[in-house]
């Protein structure tokens, strides 16, 4: 319901003031050219918002389940910084801005980084997940130093990067959505397949093993699906913070701890949240717009602070 409302609102409201009646006639294919163009742009960004919001949210659910860390976020594994590094490298080699091919580059960079983080951090002496998180932090630090070095020595790379790094739904056409859709579908299917095992894993590794869950396999599969979901979303619209962090918490408060319910609900909530954030960004600063990545950070961070204050985040 909420998602449907959000989608409808996303079509009717935006940076350009439009008459609802015009939008309806444009939807029927008989409106003015101007309104149709506005509507097309809104449909594109709504589609991107739904896809990427859902992907980031599910990715967050899986990572929080696997690391058993309520603050798990796709960024933790190096997804964001990996795609940033790939993007600036490609831009400095080609010397140009980011075309639609940059989606693949960002995607590849993210995946390579996650694999590296996982390979270094996955197995520790005591089987703890801490080293995975720490490895992610180390890789993030080193790669962001690299990104800074590249953008500060290369003005044209800096120029295109400073817009990409915020994360925005505007100007992404359906071509991009089609490119990343297969990764999103595969990631989502794996996530749904894994959900019963994630429930077992939540009981602790030993219990999960005794219930016959192949812990290592589930963990590797989960990291894989979380990574391709987050990598595809980041590649498509740029880094967007907090959706992967906050939505799993919202989801848990709605449907409880069963992952078989959490994942479908996270799809809906994540999609709705990102679309609503995008609408807000378009409405607040008319006729300018605030990119959705900024809106999610400015809304998500106080939410996290409240969670800390109330003690939800540190049980």
């Amino acid at each position: 319901m909420g998602l449907a409302t959000a989608i409808v609102c996303s079509l009717f409201f935006g940076g350009k003031l439009t008459d609802p009646a015009d939008i309806v006639s444009a939807l029927r294919g008989s409106g003015e050219p101007y309104v149709s163009a506005v509507l097309d742009a809104r449909i594109d960004r709504t589609v991107m918002g739904v896809l990427c919001g859902a992907a980031l949210a599910v990715s967050g659910v899986i990572i929080q389940a696997i690391t058993r860390n309520p603050l798990g976020d796709p960024g933790l594994l190096g997804v964001t910084v990996g795609s940033s590094a790939a993007i600036v490298t490609a831009a400095s080699i080609t010397g140009s801005g980011f075309g639609s091919g940059s989606v693949w580059i960002a995607f590849a960079g993210a995946l390579v980084t996650v694999v590296a983080v996982y390979a270094v951090g996955a197995r520790s002496a005591s089987g703890s997940i801490v080293s995975l998180v720490l490895t992610g932090a180390v890789v993030s630090a080193v790669l962001s130093a690299y990104v800074q070095a590249m953008i500060l020595t290369n003005p044209s790379v800096f120029d295109s990067f400073r817009f990409w790094v915020i994360g925005s739904l505007s100007g992404r056409d359906t071509e991009v959505a089609v490119m990343v859709a297969p990764a999103l579908i595969i990631g989502l299917l794996i996530a749904l397949m894994l959900s019963p095992s994630l429930n077992n894993l939540a009981l602790g590794e030993d219990v999960a093993t005794s219930l016959g869950t192949p812990v290592a396999l589930v963990r590797a599969g989960g990291i894989f699906s979380a990574s391709i979901l987050a990598a595809a979303a980041t590649a498509a619209v740029g880094p967007i913070a907090f959706v992967g962090l906050v939505v799993p918490h919202l989801t848990r408060s709605v449907v409880g701890i069963d992952h078989r319910w959490q994942i479908p609900v996270a799809v809906v909530l994540g999609a709705a949240l990102l679309v609503v954030a995008d609408i807000a960004g378009r409405m607040i600063a008319r006729p300018e717009e605030i990119m959705v990545g900024i809106v999610t950070a400015l809304v998500g961070a106080p939410f996290l602070l409240l969670a800390v204050r109330k003690g939800w985040a540190t049980r």
Binding site: A125, A149, L152, D159, I290, M291, V308, G311
Partner: protein, 340 residues
């Protein structure tokens, strides 16, 4: 009897070690300072240096010493020392080896303050924005942890949230600025000494003079808190007051460093760690941590001025990269010992 002997000998060996480490650190600092002033295209010839230092230099030498490398070197030494002090106090208070003012969003908040100041009031000095931003960020984390930084987990999470919000503000401002201004802003926001001037030297010098003695004075009480609040009250220390003083000093030190040099990452995190390893004690002393911090930042800035490949980059990029690798080394080592 024999027990007393052992502890006395132990105390003596710690003191001796402390002196050796201090002398070696100061020696290395002097060498780095000498190199910073003398090598490279504009370097001051070693023969002219004594004359120049007593104020009898002319022309290019005077310009290099008084306007270019002198202020830069002094800012590096002082800001590095402040970061070391800040980290040592904060790590001891929070009992968290990863604790640093970065963790409570200090650097990010200062960055956001500078960004907003540049956007809204370009005529005001940006260091004012840094101080305001750092103060607001620290306050936000303090309020949200609810217990005055006492719970490390809460502090870190609140710090993440504040840092994320600050990052969003910074990104927004950078994206709305013209390319040149944005590029300059981005360089400052990663931490840079490229434009250090006399004002930065004054800010950091004042902060060192005021904060260092107070920090050394309070650090003894703070280390007694390690034994637990009850024991500490038993020997006449008010735990909450001590903790608050230490955190305030830590924030002031970190804030002054950021105001002068931008949010340089990893120095306040690593300086106490390195000092602790050099001294082989469980807690880094504030003084040796300050020395270590000064050494790290001057060495990094020397590299940022002269080393191939990285020359010309802001020093913060170097500390971020090298600090990240050091963190990786710690990780690998801890893991091989099975402690992770």
């Amino acid at each position: 009897m024999s027990h007393t002997d052992t502890s006395r000998r132990f105390a003596l060996s710690v003191d001796r070690r402390f002196c050796i480490v201090a002398i070696l650190s100061i020696g290395s600092l002097l060498i780095v300072a000498l190199l910073t002033l003398t090598i490279g295209k504009l370097g001051i010839p070693v023969t002219e240096l004594p004359q120049a230092l007593v104020g009898r230099a002319e022309g290019q030498t005077a310009f290099v010493l008084e306007r270019l490398r002198g202020p830069r070197l002094a800012t590096a030494v002082l800001a590095g020392a402040l970061l070391g002090v800040s980290g040592a106090l904060f790590q001891t208070v929070t009992r968290n080896p990863l604790g640093s003012p970065d963790v409570i969003g200090l650097g990010a908040g200062a960055g956001a303050g500078v960004a907003l100041m540049t956007l809204s009031f370009p005529l005001f000095p940006s260091s004012l924005g840094a101080v305001l931003g750092a103060a607001i960020a620290t306050l936000a984390v303090y309020v949200c942890t609810g217990r005055g930084f006492r719970s490390p987990a809460r502090t870190i999470i609140a710090g993440i949230a504040v840092a994320a919000m600050a990052a969003a503000i910074i990104e927004y401002v950078v994206s709305t600025q013209l390319r040149d201004a944005a590029s300059q802003l981005a360089a400052y926001l990663v931490g840079s000494l490229n434009a250090s001037n006399g004002q930065d030297v004054l800010v950091t010098l004042g902060a060192v003079v005021l904060i260092l003695p107070a920090a050394i004075a309070v650090s003894r009480d703070v280390s007694l808190l390690e034994m637990g609040d009850d024991t500490a009250s038993g020997v006449g220390i008010d735990p909450n007051r001590t903790r608050s003083i230490a955190v305030i000093l830590s924030v002031l030190a970190g804030g002054a460093a950021v105001a002068a040099a931008g949010p340089i990452s990893f120095v306040s995190l690593t300086a106490p760690q390195i000092a602790r390893r050099l001294l082989k004690t469980s807690n880094a002393s504030v003084f040796s941590s300050a020395l270590t911090g000064a050494l790290i930042l001057t060495a990094a800035d020397l590299a940022a001025q002269q080393a191939p490949l990285v020359a010309g980059l802001p020093v913060g990029v170097l500390t971020l990269g090298v600090g990240g690798i050091y963190l990786g080394y710690l990780l690998v080592r801890e893991r091989s010992k099975g402690r992770l």
